[in-house]
Symmetry: C2
Subunit: 183 residues, 2 copies
């Protein structure tokens, strides 16, 4: 949401003005009539990196952005969900897959798009998966067949790289990272 | 934001309707004219637990909710910030303090209020601190003087308890927790 694009109060329909509210230190969209402040904050993306028989599960995106590119099942956390619940829901919605032995694995800040990724890793509970509405294909890849040049987002490449690095060191760690693409 | 309270599109001023958008599976506020979907998602609260000479820094809240109760400096993450930047900003705004040796310490889901806390721990860079606008008092407490019955929120008590538990075990860990107060 771009602050200056907001024109009308969602509650009373009056004009929105952009100003620094009292006791605040940055500009917000504020209703000129009822005074409601419309905050806009970073969003959490929750997802899973799941292995099965030494392969990992990737989804080919059916929707923009980056349709046709491969990604890990992940999506925006919904209200009243935990990050783990969100990761499991997205995995089932996008990849028709269920997970076990889930562990937090990567927290990655993407400040340029105001997103925080919370990725879990674990195993499929069985070998079952199927493409959901947002995927055109879901597939297990061994490490030497990961389509690195066709991965949808840098944060996804980073998660996969960290996973294989940890596997080689025999310990899945919890990583805190920042990928900043301010240009 | 309660979905049904939204009446007018912020962009074009037309009526909002509540419906499940195409390719979605839950109700959203959608503009009946321009079709914009108003998503509402969990918010991240970033903050710090800082020690100085075997004491930890607490702030007495000057604002509701829980005015008069003690808390760790923390607040909503802003767009284009990393969680660490947000934690440091809130610490400076609320406690006039700067931190060093910052490490991620606690990720805590509060699904009943759709918040995810991201707490860091570290040290003050010097002994300096001062109450910001949202604090009526800022003070260093040794462990045996922590005002447990006057801590503002369960997640803050939990963070302090985990900190002392880790200190006793000589290792600050990264904790992933959920505090669910659905009643």
């Amino acid at each position: 949401m771009k602050l200056t694009n907001l024109k009308y109060c969602s509650y009373c329909g009056s004009d929105i003005i952009i100003k620094v509210p009292e006791d605040d230190n940055r500009e917000r969209a504020v209703c000129s009539n009822c005074g409601v402040i419309f905050y806009d904050n970073p969003k959490i993306v929750a997802g899973c990196l799941l292995e099965w028989e030494d392969k990992i599960l990737l989804c080919k995106r059916a929707t923009e952005p980056r349709a046709g590119y491969w990604t890990l099942p992940a999506g925006f956390l919904e209200n009243n969900e935990t990050t783990e619940e969100g990761a499991l829901r997205e995995t089932f919605e996008e990849a028709g897959a269920k997970a076990k032995k889930l562990k937090p694995f990567l927290v990655c800040n993407l400040p340029h798009i105001s997103q925080i990724y919370m990725m879990y890793c674990g195993s499929l509970i069985d070998g079952n998966f199927s493409a959901g509405l947002e995927s055109s294909e879901v597939k297990l890849f061994p490490e030497n067949e990961i389509p690195w040049s066709e991965i949808a987002f840098p944060v996804i490449s980073r998660a996969i790289k960290l996973y294989y690095q940890d596997i080689k060191n025999d310990t899945i760690k919890i990583h805190f990272e920042t990928i900043d693409r301010k240009i």
